[in-house]
Amino acid sequence: MNVAFFFEVLIGGLLAGVMYSLVALGFVLIYKASGVFNFAQGAMVFFAALTFISLVERGLNFWLALVVTLAVMVVLGIAIEKVVLRPLVNQPPITLFMATIGLTFVLEGLSQLVWGSQPHGLELGIQDVPMEWLSQSTGINISQFDIFAAGVAGLLVAVLALFFQYTRIGRALRAVADDHQAALSVGIPLKHIWAIVWSVAGFVALVAGLMWGARNGVQYALTFIALKALPVLILGGFESVLGAIVGGLIIGASEKLAEVYIGPMVGGGIESWFAYVVALLFLLVRPQGLFGEKIIDRV
């Protein structure tokens, strides 16, 4: 076995996993705060990235477009809370889940209606090319864009951790996540918290959309990256930010290694479902995921 190649696959897989984690984070935030599995997270990534690039192409400055898109995502978060979630308070989780499925199709349709269905290129100023010094010294190709994306993901996790741990809103979010009724009884306004968390998830969707859009172009297929986040969530746990990161790393590395070393023996094209094999195996051993909260029901 070529050891350098093995490490290239492994490192590449870990970095790809970070990209999955970026999407998984959005799911985790909403699940933590409301217990809702937001099926629409992929559509939010697409909507955010498409809005951003469409504004840039219409002449807006990069940073201004970023701010405007962020504002759009905040408005979207508030609108979702008012129109979709608030009328469904106290409904079973499956009802809320179904509502987010509906939301997915609305967002996908709305995005294409407003901005069209054409794909767009997105440049963030970081070339997606191998780092030459590393390539020359070790023979391993690692893209500088992947390193940049990993840095962005790390920064995002740090900001979210600080936000949750040290701000008043963050503490309120954690209280709501622990127990809706108890949080309400001490005066935490549930509807405001939900609007905030959906807005933060919108921000995460924008960051994920920019990273994935810069890598593959901004197009409808961005909605499919949610499917890449699902095994990450199963493995890492639905309520854990750390789980989203660790889960992403494990899924990314294992699917790439499987595709390269097992794929050729079985005809290839296995990485998309192999990630779910890994996640299901973890599920058998630890149903709540690596970092999920263990649920104990007393009867």
């Binding site: 070529n2 190649f5 290239e8 696959v9 590449g12 897989g13 790809a16 996908e108 349709g109 294409q112 069209g116 269905s117 054409q118 794909p119 767009h120 290129g121 997105l122 440049e123 070339q127 997606d128 090319v129 191998p130 390539s135 190709n141 893209s143 864009f145 992947d146 994935w212 890598r215 593959n216 172009g217 901004v218 197009q219 409808y220 297929a221 961005l222 499919f224 990256i225 890449k228 699917e255 790439k256 595709e259 390269v260 794929g263 050729p264 005809g267 290839g268 094209g269 296995i270 990485e271 998309s272 479902w273």
Partner: protein
Amino acid sequence: MKRTTLMLAVGTLAAAGFTGQAWAQVKEQFVPASFYWVGPYAPGGSGIAGGMLDYFKMLNTRDGGINGVKLTWEKCETEYNNARGVECYERLKKKGPTGATLIHPLSTGITYSLIEKGTTDKIPIVSVGYGRTDAADGRVFPYIFPIITTYWSQNTAKIKFMGQKMGGMDKLKGAKIVNLYHGSAYGKETIPVLDAQAKQYGFQVTHIEVSHPGNEQQAQWLQIRQIKPDWVILRGWGVMNPTALKAAQRAGYPREKIIGVWWSGAEEDVIPAGDAAKGYIAAGFNVSGSNYPVVQDIQKHVYAKGQGEMEDKSRVGSIYYNRGVVFGMITTEAVRKAQERYGKGQPMTGEQVRWGLENLNMDEAYLKNLGATGFMQPLKMSCADHEGGGQVKFQQWDGKQWKVISDWISSDQKLVRPMIEASAAQYAKEKGITPRDCSKEK
């Protein structure tokens, strides 16, 4: 009460009789516009639909239709989904005074789903540049038309192009070629012909699958880097194409050595990849550009009046748009041909249009008359040959536009046609079909 009911019944019958009579006199040719304007493959679907419908509008405005028969259509969104495609077909097949003229499913999967339905309903299923390759044998597949160049033919032209670039077909011996394909019926369609050509020329071919939709290809390109191939054939669709070009850049593989199928060779496939697409080569059965008389007529008779299908007018003249114009020309010229035999100025049935398609001969003079010299290749169809063309042009992306870098390159019919006939014969055997005797067809 009874009197009122009787009058109503008489009135209804009279109205029905009048409608039926009027319907029979309506000089309209109905064509289903069963495409996709939303979803992951919308850039291709919307561009082709736009080109075809704009061409119909132009003919209606400029010429009053086909010998006075106006073209009509109804849109149906398939989302590139087989079930939706069949639903659209069923919904639209009986519309218009003579039913559907023909249908362009714009999906290899939907084409497969419609093979038996179209044959039973006598409605031609026209798959221009895609679809089931062995359906080119019209003796077994009387209503299926994989017109222009099948995937198998296209692949042989690609290998010929590679041979030319390497300095001769003998130079292919010992060469390594990777076939990077979309994990679908469309993606797998060319594996047999590539394997046959590998034996013929002595090159080594490795087939690497990319799972749908193809937005993650790091592992595949790491394998390609290990193999160090002389060429990579990119058989992608949608997001798989720009992702492949970006991943090739990350793996340090030269884009000049990647040859795409024509569903990987539009502006929409390269623009999202940015600089990573520079130098990439793709096959084509039509070219881009708006300086062709046929496109200029569309601009003059349709867009100047604000009636164009494309919201983004810059897409007029793009690869997909012009491909739609080719779809439009083939459709309308088949109707025109059918009218020559079955009645000039009359709407044609699907069965009559099938005859029109089988007797279509669009040579250089014909194309010039349509304002499409160099826009597409000449076509000569027959009862046995539902392909009719079999040539390919190659184009290279320079970062801003596609530049044609070859003449029309012929496919290797000596290899392809026997494979088509053998595969079609096998299908006929499985389905209990007795192939038509084309010498008895008039």
